[in-house]
């Protein structure tokens, strides 16, 4: 049965029905049955004066009696049917997501693994994996001479940083960077500063990955090998444009000293989706770390 208010059925005569007072709908004086409009309506009530062509039925008004049974219903969905349909769909979708997440308890809760296999470890000059074929591609920047592994391209570069990404796309990337320090003087402080930077610039919930404590390593400066830390930050990365993914952000970072006596941070940054991080990090050739030389960077005394 079509949902028609009772007043709609009253309008088959010349006298217009008393329309419902719907919000926002003003009534003209001619339809204001309780006011002075009565007299005005009566004076101009000749049917031929207001009935439209094709509707020349004396005594009719725009208001019709309820439509006969069998007329199409006004709404295709029943009362609160929309809520029921949408809720059912969202419950199915949400349940599927919850079940999938439960069956694929991925990186967010249990990060295991180690620092990149080919990052040189203090006290050991032998990489744990065979070195990659030598690359003839070396990029000289103001802050470092950067070894570009085979299969990598420079996709972004500035005065104090460079970004290398593997050919063929993907979300993996390696950054090499140097920047001056003001108050930070130790590798441990630099670790915290890098984590704070990730929290500030990306994911407020970023944290050092569980089961991946800082490891001692070294980077190469123009003044010699510099003691460094290898750390991993687990976070949700949302690059500009919204391509968000759960990622592991590994740093091989060190505090170095310039020829002017000022401290500077020199570091590698290895970013990859959390499921692919370890494989990506391990695929990086040792030469990336041993043949990249930071300019004007010496070990701390």
């Amino acid at each position: 049965m079509t949902d028609v208010p009772p007043d709609a059925s009253m309008g088959s005569g010349l006298t217009p029905p008393a329309p419902a007072d719907y919000a926002g709908i003003a009534l003209p004086s001619s339809l204001d049955a309780t006011g002075a409009g009565d007299a005005q309506f009566a004076a101009s009530a000749s049917p031929s004066s207001y009935l439209p062509p094709g509707y020349m039925v004396p005594g009719s008004s725009p208001y019709l009696p309820p439509p006969p049974s069998g007329t199409a219903r006004l709404h295709r969905t029943g009362h609160n049917g929309v809520i029921a349909i949408v809720s059912a769909i969202l419950i199915v979708v949400g349940s599927a997501g919850a079940v999938y997440a439960a069956l694929h308890t991925g990186g967010g809760t249990a990060i295991t693994g180690s620092v990149p296999a080919n990052v040189p470890v203090t006290g050991s000059s032998i990489p744990t994996a065979p070195p990659a074929p030598a690359s003839t591609d070396t990029v000289v920047t103001p802050f470092a001479t950067v070894f570009v592994p085979n299969g990598f391209s420079v996709t972004d570069q500035g005065s104090d940083y460079i970004v290398l990404t593997p050919d063929g796309a993907g979300d993996e990337a390696v950054g090499v960077q140097a920047e001056p320090l003001t108050s930070t003087t130790t590798d441990a402080e630099l670790d915290q500063a890098l984590l704070a930077g990730d929290r500030q610039n990306g994911d407020p919930s970023a944290a050092f990955c569980k089961a991946k404590p800082a490891t001692s390593t070294q980077v190469v400066g123009s003044g010699g090998d510099i003691a460094a830390h290898a750390i991993s930050v687990c976070e949700n990365v949302t690059p500009t444009g919204g391509a968000a993914f759960a990622a592991e952000d590994g740093y091989v970072d060190a505090v170095a000293k310039g020829s002017d006596g000022k401290y500077k941070a020199v570091f590698f940054e290895i970013l990859a989706p959390i499921g692919q991080y370890q494989a990506f990090a391990n695929s990086l050739p040792a030469a990336l770390f041993t043949q990249t030389v930071f300019t004007d960077a010496s070990p701390l005394p």
Binding site: Y55, H75, R76
Partner: protein
């Protein structure tokens, strides 16, 4: 009576059923003819009222609109609960599907596709999904990611990509432009919104595919609430409203009438909005603005597009509703059973913004009289 504005003989009612003008306001032509107090798709609202649902779901009456609003709020509440309990993947999926599901149900409820559901849904929603997949995957591969704030990727993601999306998103809807049964501007709006929402589904899936694939049950999920609100509400509304605005602008058969200035603003308005949405949002984030303020900023931009669409649709409905034939209908908005042409004489709702089905029937007396009149002629 004779309408104050179009001069036609029409039933004596609040609104002229031929041109939609508000009767009894002869002294104020704008208030009467353009009736800004009564949005043509939802007469209880002002044209400039930033109401999202009554703008993007123009075919729904008051009662159904209320149900959709309730369903939307239930969906948002569900997302909040899922985030709070650490079910990030479930929350993501609900966020991605919430608004498109509502829209799909609204298309069914109002039967906007007439008798061609496969064609319309295939061209708009599915077309939008396919284009969204292609554009998003290509963009991620071409623009790539950056480990730090640098000019290239920022310009790519905040200016270049949104402009490309703006060009691509309405294309599936425009395929239907040549179909004679979909000739009204409001059809262009609805189809454009549907295509934009399809695009939004694909884009969100690509962007969050890593999270969906890798994320387990999160214990620290507080930081997800802002991205989730953006994903569930702002991004689909931005895509849907801009695609709808452009499709509706290009859909209009003419650029004349009282709303001609509105037609010319469609594309520039959408361009400014998407660049402001993404670039402005990025600038705010890079200046350490609170995430809630960034959401408010982006929400304000979405609402500005919504208000523009309302003006565009309002003028289009008033112009395109003229000179239609009389028929008996049950108005979806005020529920009166009336004899109407282009507008409900009782509440002023444009019939083009009503469900696409015959919902009334002429009383026997009228039918008999028409038959008699026809026999005489």
């Amino acid at each position: 009576m004779t309408c104050d504005h179009c001069g036609k003989q029409v039933p004596d009612a609040v609104f002229c059923t031929n041109c939609g003008a508000h009767q009894g306001l002869a002294g104020d032509a704008i208030a009467a003819q353009e009736r800004p107090q009564h949005f043509a798709a939802h007469p209880g609202e002002h044209v400039s009222q930033p109401s999202v649902l009554s703008t993007l779901f123009p075919h729904l009456g008051h009662q159904k609109l209320h149900e959709f609003r309730t369903a939307f709020l239930l969906g948002v509440a569900t997302i909040v609960v899922l985030v709070a309990t650490g079910l990030i993947v479930a929350a993501l999926l609900v966020s991605i599907f919430l608004v498109p599901t509502l829209y799909l149900v609204s298309l069914y409820e109002a039967q906007v596709y007439r008798n061609e559901p496969a064609l319309v849904l295939g061209a708009t929603l599915v077309g939008g999904i396919i284009l969204g997949l292609v554009v998003t995957v290509l963009a991620d591969h071409i623009i790539g990611i950056s480990l730090r704030t640098s000019t290239g990727p920022i310009l790519g993601y905040t200016v270049l990509l949104p402009v490309i999306q703006l060009i691509v998103m309405p294309l599936p809807a425009l395929v239907l432009r040549s179909r004679p049964q979909f000739g009204e501007t409001i059809d262009g709006l609805v189809f454009g919104v549907a295509a934009g929402l399809g695009f939004s589904i694909a884009e969100s899936f690509v962007h969050y595919s890593r999270v969906i694939a890798d994320e387990g049950v999160q214990t620290n999920s507080a930081s997800w609430i802002y991205p989730m609100v953006s994903l569930a509400v702002l991004v689909p509304l931005m895509h849907g409203s801009t695609a709808g605005a452009i499709a509706a602008t290009l859909w209009r058969p003419s650029r004349g009438g009282s709303g001609r200035w509105v037609s010319y603003l469609g594309i520039p308005m959408a361009l400014i909005a998407v660049v402001a949405f993404y670039a402005g949002g990025h600038i705010l984030v890079s200046h350490d603005t609170a995430p809630l303020l960034v959401l408010f900023f982006q929400g304000a931009i979405v609402l500005s597009v919504i208000v523009y669409i309302r003006h565009l649709v309002h003028h289009a409905l008033l112009e395109e509703g003229r000179d239609l034939g009389y028929r008996a209908i049950v108005c979806a908005h005020c529920h009166h059973h009336v004899m109407a042409a282009g507008f409900c004489p009782s509440c002023g709702a444009a019939l083009a913004a009503s469900p696409r089905r015959e919902t009334g029937a002429a009383p026997v007396a009228v039918v008999a009289a028409d038959a008699t009149a026809g026999a005489r002629t």
